[in-house]
């Protein structure tokens, strides 16, 4: 009986994190940083907003690499490497690892905007991607 209980507990531990739990946790931490109510629509607008990137000599957006349809694969604007879909409904692994999410916000916000994203922006993006 005890063994069954332990097996069960291990199985539960082995369950991958749920995207919704991870997002809720991140949104809470963004709120703690001072963000107001989040808005997925705003996230969608920002997704396609063009930002001049001096290094490349052209305007880029999130969609430059990830595409405008998040259920489809994107491709890296420079290397052409395929990027798996971001939409949770077609790619269940997405938004399940808070460290990975933060890491890519760090990289991609700097690449696209030339600066870090605010807690507000990150929350808006997350909601947009989650509900896509």
């Amino acid at each position: 009986m005890k063994r069954i209980a332990i097996t069960f507990a291990l199985l539960l531990l082995a369950q991958p994190a749920m995207a919704s739990d991870v997002i809720e946790e991140l949104l809470n931490s963004y709120r703690a940083e001072g963000a107001a109510a989040f808005d997925g629509k705003r996230g969608k607008t920002m997704w396609q907003e063009q930002h001049q990137q001096p290094q490349l000599g052209k305007a880029v957006s999130c969609a430059s690499c990830h595409g405008t349809d998040l259920t489809q694969r994107g491709s890296h604007i420079k290397t052409g490497k395929l990027i798996e879909p971001l939409a949770v409904r077609t790619n269940a692994g997405r938004l399940t690892d808070p460290v990975k999410i933060e890491k890519w916000f760090g990289r991609n916000c700097h690449w696209t905007y030339g600066r870090a994203c605010t807690a507000q922006e990150k929350g808006d993006f997350l909601l947009f991607i989650q509900n896509y």
Binding site: Q55, H76, K78, T79, G80, K81, R107, H110, W111
Partner: protein, 189 residues
């Protein structure tokens, strides 16, 4: 006595023919087509074996096998990730060290593989290339490809996108007989 000589001659003949065929196999180009008899065809460059490298570097571009460049190139590359071909690709110190160790230990001048030797031979001693595509070996192998197949091909876009044409590239297999150019089909010259 005559029998002994005959046996000796036969053994000699076998030895000579074996060594000749060995040399002939070695003379074949490094794609390893003559390796067919040895079961699974050998890869042309050792496959990537480090998960951290694959995750971190392979996220934005093909995870180039370390055997493509010498140690000095990898050291220089990992020493300047703030400006990684125009992009910021900085990593934390621990991750960065693990990747540099992996790349160095498996670099072209550390692995005795035919493919790596060919690349190495094409790089002048006094240079430290950062782009595989700029090595003489690479340009020699790809010079006949027209622009419309690579740069102007929306499904390829860049020579750095190895696996879009080299279908088995991730396994370290760059055999030209397995090249399929997206939108154009097989390429075999």
């Amino acid at each position: 006595m005559n029998k002994k000589i005959a046996t000796g001659t036969a053994v000699m003949a076998i030895c000579i023919s074996l060594s000749v065929s060995f040399v002939a196999a070695g003379d074949d180009d490094w794609w390893g087509d003559k390796d067919r008899g040895y079961g699974e065809r050998s890869a042309t460059v050792a496959a990537v074996m480090n998960k951290t490298y694959e995750t971190e570097c392979g996220a934005c571009h093909f995870a180039y096998q370390p055997g493509f460049l010498p140690v000095r190139s990898w050291v220089k590359m990992m020493g300047n990730l703030e400006d990684h071909f125009g992009d910021n690709a900085t990593l934390d110190a621990v991750t960065s060290k693990e990747i540099l160790d992996y790349l160095s230990n498996n670099a072209a001048d550390r692995k005795n593989q035919r493919f790596s030797r060919s690349i190495l031979r094409s790089i002048p001693q006094e240079t430290t290339p950062l782009r595989i595509t700029e090595t003489r070996f690479f340009t020699g192998e790809h010079h006949e490809l027209p622009k419309r197949l690579v740069r102007d091909n929306p499904k390829v876009r860049s020579f750095s996108n190895c696996q879009s044409c080299h279908t088995q590239a991730a396994k370290g297999d760059f055999n030209e007989h397995r090249v399929v150019v997206p939108g154009f089909g097989r390429w075999d010259d």
